[in-house]
């Protein structure tokens, strides 16, 4: 058979974000030999823009890097500023940051698995996943006033608070999601046709996961635990207990199961945070000038480790500010996952790394 090339894009075939994939099939015309990516369609030069804004203005910009991780960016940025400023935020604020973050994680994971169901043409299952997610969308709308960008963080703490009524509302919604999720997990564990379709697809072996430095559920599904909440705890994660979900198969199924079980862990973290939420202030009054110095900070976003580097020269604007998002580390793994797989599985495999182009390109 003559050599042929299959070009997909500029829209990501799973998530409708712009990336070009140049996929070379094997001689059989059915399986994949190699894949190359062309990015840059939504590169906004944000690392340059932030040098022209002051530290307070940059908080707003970090919220706009991405939608699904829009809480982790300001959260991690604030931690870097607070380290440079030698600020210890109130304990209550640290708990509230965790509550906002775990809420976002649940919604993000449910969305990704819902997209998997969509790609599998299991639309009833997809509907169940999105309905389960809708309870968390209601939580976000009621508590933070927005279904996507929570705008929860400020330098020195948070700008929202919870009372007993709001906590009761969140618990009520969480119970609905938990019931729905138990039924969904049961389907994923017992539906043999579903399992057969995605087990053994897009495998990332443990050794490659380690060497490529992949992060988040992609790493954990290949048996690599670099969950920042566990390995380098921040905020109040060291005071809360949770299980890091890992699997050994490294395939599309394992990545979905990691996300599903992590939702239970996130809801457990939320329960613990509600029950031990201390009284006190939610934010400190902070000056807009950050002392000279440099700092790094990390958090565990829904897609994995997010890192910020910040350098201040003592003025109101940063001298250098850089961040690396989880998807950035996971793209190269696609080359391993796709090789030898069927072309009709491309979308399933792309979706399984839960890619964020907006994040990657900044």
């Amino acid at each position: 058979m003559a050599e042929s090339k299959c070009i997909l894009g500029p829209f990501d075939v799973a998530l409708e974000e712009p990336v070009y994939f140049n996929i070379t099939p094997n001689a059989d015309g059915k399986t994949i030999q190699s894949v190359e990516m062309i990015n840059g369609f939504v590169h906004r030069g944000m690392e340059s823009i932030v040098l022209k804004r002051n530290f307070l203005q940059n908080l707003i910009i970090t919220e706009k890097v991405c939608g699904l991780c829009s809480n982790n960016h300001p959260f991690t940025y604030c931690m870097a500023v607070e380290k440079l400023s030698h600020i210890t935020i109130p304990r209550r604020a640290a708990y509230l940051r965790v509550i906002a973050d775990e809420t976002k994680r649940v919604a993000s994971h449910l969305f990704n698995v819902a997209m998997l169901a969509h790609l599998l043409k299991r639309h009833s299952l997809m509907g169940s996943l999105l309905e389960a997610r809708e309870h968390f969308q209601d939580i976000k709308e009621q508590i933070w006033g927005n279904r996507m960008d929570l705008s929860a963080n400020v330098i020195g703490g948070v700008k929202y608070d919870l009372n007993s009524e709001k906590i009761a509302f969140m618990k009520e919604k969480m119970a609905l999601t938990r019931t729905a999720l138990e039924a969904i997990v049961h389907i994923f564990e017992t539906d043999e046709s579903l399992k057969k379709r995605i087990q053994g697809v897009g495998v990332l072996p443990h050794e490659k996961a380690l060497s490529l430095g992949v992060v988040g559920p992609v790493a954990r599904a290949s048996g690599v635990n670099n969950d920042v909440r566990f390995c380098a705890p921040y905020a109040v994660y060291d005071a809360l207990s949770f299980k890091v979900i890992t699997r050994s198969e490294g395939d599309v199924y394992a990545r979905a199961m990691v996300r599903l079980y992590e939702i239970f862990e996130s809801m457990s973290l939320l329960e613990q945070a509600f029950n031990s939420l201390p009284k006190g202030e939610i934010a400190l009054h902070v000056k807009s000038v950050v002392p000279k110095g440099e700092a790094t900070s990390r958090s565990e976003a829904p897609r994995g480790e997010l890192m910020y580097y910040l350098k201040s020269n003592g003025t109101q604007k940063p001298e250098r500010m850089k961040w690396r998002v989880p998807s950035y580390m996971n793209w190269e793994a696609l080359k391993v996952m796709l090789k030898g797989n069927a072309i009709e599985d491309v979308a399933l495999i792309f979706n399984s790394i839960d890619p964020c182009i907006s994040c990657s390109e900044r």
Binding site: C231, R298, K322, M329
Partner: protein, 164 residues
């Protein structure tokens, strides 16, 4: 972290690299002067199962500062290297996790990578030269009246350079 500080000090001493490792803001920090020492030091970090989390590049007065951010068993180690000329030995042959970070700094700052397995661009079309963002004036600057004098000085300076 102190245990890692001790191990890294031992590694640097063994390799004869003059540096010190300081703990600041929940991370370990060090800087090395000799670009040639990078590869040997990186091999030592590889043996310690380090992972490249990120690489930051910044233009400074005389050259570039490169800051490698490694994770070693949950501890963040930041290693600074000053480049006098825009040439950098790639550590991607040792750390696949450095692949995209090195390509990005090469693309945005015009730094030539030595021994990178795939030094192609990540974000900008291949037909556009490296460090294009530094050479061109963005619309936001061009339309900002406050910076017009500074802008034209930059343009005139560039013309002067082009005219020799």
């Amino acid at each position: 972290m102190k245990h890692l500080q001790s191990n890294l000090t031992h590694l640097a001493n063994t390799l004869g690299i003059p540096t010190s490792f300081e703990i600041s803001n929940d991370a370990l920090w060090a800087s090395i002067e000799d670009t040639n020492a990078l590869e040997e030091f990186a091999k030592g970090l590889q043996r310690m199962h380090a992972r490249v989390c990120m690489i930051t590049c910044a233009r400074v007065d005389k050259g570039h500062d490169i800051l490698y951010h490694f994770d070693i068993k949950g501890v963040l180690f930041n290693l600074k290297l000053h480049l006098k000329t825009p040439h950098l030995p790639s550590i991607t042959p040792l750390f696949e996790s450095a692949n995209w970070a090195e390509r990005e700094l090469s693309e945005l700052y015009g730094i030539a990578l030595e021994s990178h397995p795939n030094p192609s661009k990540l974000f900008i079309d291949e037909s556009i030269k490296e460090a294009i963002y530094e050479a061109y004036v963005p619309l936001s600057s061009a339309m900002n009246g406050e910076v017009s004098r500074h802008l034209w000085e930059k343009v005139k300076m560039a013309q002067g350079e082009n005219n020799g």
